[in-house]
Symmetry: C2
Subunit: 252 residues, 2 copies
């Protein structure tokens, strides 16, 4: 089976099992804590277990939000966030996704981010372009008069200055999925410099954004590097253009 | 026919006609300008025309985003926003709704806000409670350690101070629909003090929020009053509690 087939199979099975929990705080409960300290709820666990059912027989390395790392000394590493946007999911906010990033010898190979509610498969194989449900996507052309961004700033940042340069703010609370909104041209940029984002949040959408033409950097504007683990918190900027990136860098 | 039946019939017919435009900037085009100066796109026009097809034979007054006011000297006034969140809709951001507010002698009587993508009917008759798809909803209990809000601030406001008091920010860009997220307890509060919001944006969700137990005020903390027209821009705060409201008022 190809990686896209495996990823989509897992995504659809997770969808089938967990959508009855959407917006149902009353039905969910906490079953543990993730390696990075977040609470694991039952629907996170169900989702991760489904992913593992498919991945374990492949003897690949797995990095996942809830369990951390399974190291099988494989050349393949699959980095997943079973539910990107858990808070949204259980609180009835329609922004959450399954994130499935495949790395070969630690290099991006394939990414799939599946938005359950709109049944949107965002995906990309390295070097082959980015797609939304099979249709090619790319970042939006930069227009300084019409900027829409999402952000997770740190306390030092002058938000007022930033807001003076942009037209609209959207903050959805699911970083991996929001990256796909940059990839398809709905947002101009997104950044997290608190930093709170981890590899599991960005691994799948990283490839999708790259293939859609986005720039992805750290907070100094250097090409982003990240380790494939579930604990490091990293600064990430994703922008549709050098001009957009410079606006953000200038304020950091 | 009852108002809820009329509202839902319109909502479902709009859904049928416009969903093929979702995320399709390439398919849409501008057909005019609304009384408050926003661009009217073809899908806005299609939606409004469907609403008018049902409302005109009733000889009621109509206030709508695109056309302004039809005054039939009726005791009934129906205030609609055919697509709350037009930018989101056409840019493939899954957060937009149909807003249908009914007033009798200018007093709130019935409100329906329909979220197309999740097929959610938020509704309320005055004095009868607020419902999401027939299930009673109410605002969230206030917990100072776990505040999630949406906001549209003015330039004077100290955002950093605000952000220090809250745990999460979500900004979806469709005020009427976001009000329903306060009503169902997904958000603690939302406010617009730019101000950019108009009666057409809030008329339906106003009744829903009231019936769900929310406080709705102007920027001085006084009970909100608004005229039923499509042009006035008003300051609005919607909060789940007095404590939440006070946190916002203190910073304005």
């Amino acid at each position: 089976m190809m990686w896209d087939e495996i990823g989509k199979k897992i995504a659809k099975e997770i969808e089938k099992e967990i959508m009855s929990y959407y917006g149902r705080k009353d039905k969910s409960y906490i079953v543990g804590k993730s390696p990075s300290g977040d609470k694991t709820e039952i629907f996170d666990k169900i989702s991760e277990d489904i992913a593992l059912k498919y991945l374990k027989p492949l003897n690949v390395n797995v990095v996942s939000e809830e369990l951390g790392i399974i190291n099988n000394e494989s050349e393949w590493t699959v980095v997943i966030d079973p539910i990107d946007g858990s808070f949204n999911f259980i609180n009835g906010i329609p922004f959450f996704a399954f994130c499935f990033g495949v790395f070969k010898n630690n290099k991006p190979y394939y990414g799939l981010t599946y938005e359950f509610l709109t049944k949107s498969f965002y995906e990309a194989y390295k070097g082959k372009g980015a797609y939304l449900n099979g249709k090619k996507i790319k970042v939006k052309d930069f227009n300084p008069e019409d900027i829409t961004i999402s952000y997770y700033p740190n306390k030092k940042m002058d938000l007022e200055k930033l807001r003076n340069k942009i037209k609209r703010v959207r903050i959805f609370g699911a970083f991996g999925l929001e990256m796909c909104y940059v990839a398809k041209g709905s947002l101009d940029a997104i950044f997290d410099v608190r930093p709170k984002v981890r590899a599991v949040d960005i691994a799948s959408s990283y490839i999708i954004c790259k293939e859609a033409g986005a720039l992805i950097t750290d907070k100094d504007g250097n090409e982003l590097k990240f380790e494939l683990n579930a604990t490091d918190r990293i600064n990430v900027i994703v922008a549709n253009s050098k001009e957009m990136l410079d606006i953000i860098l200038e304020l950091l």
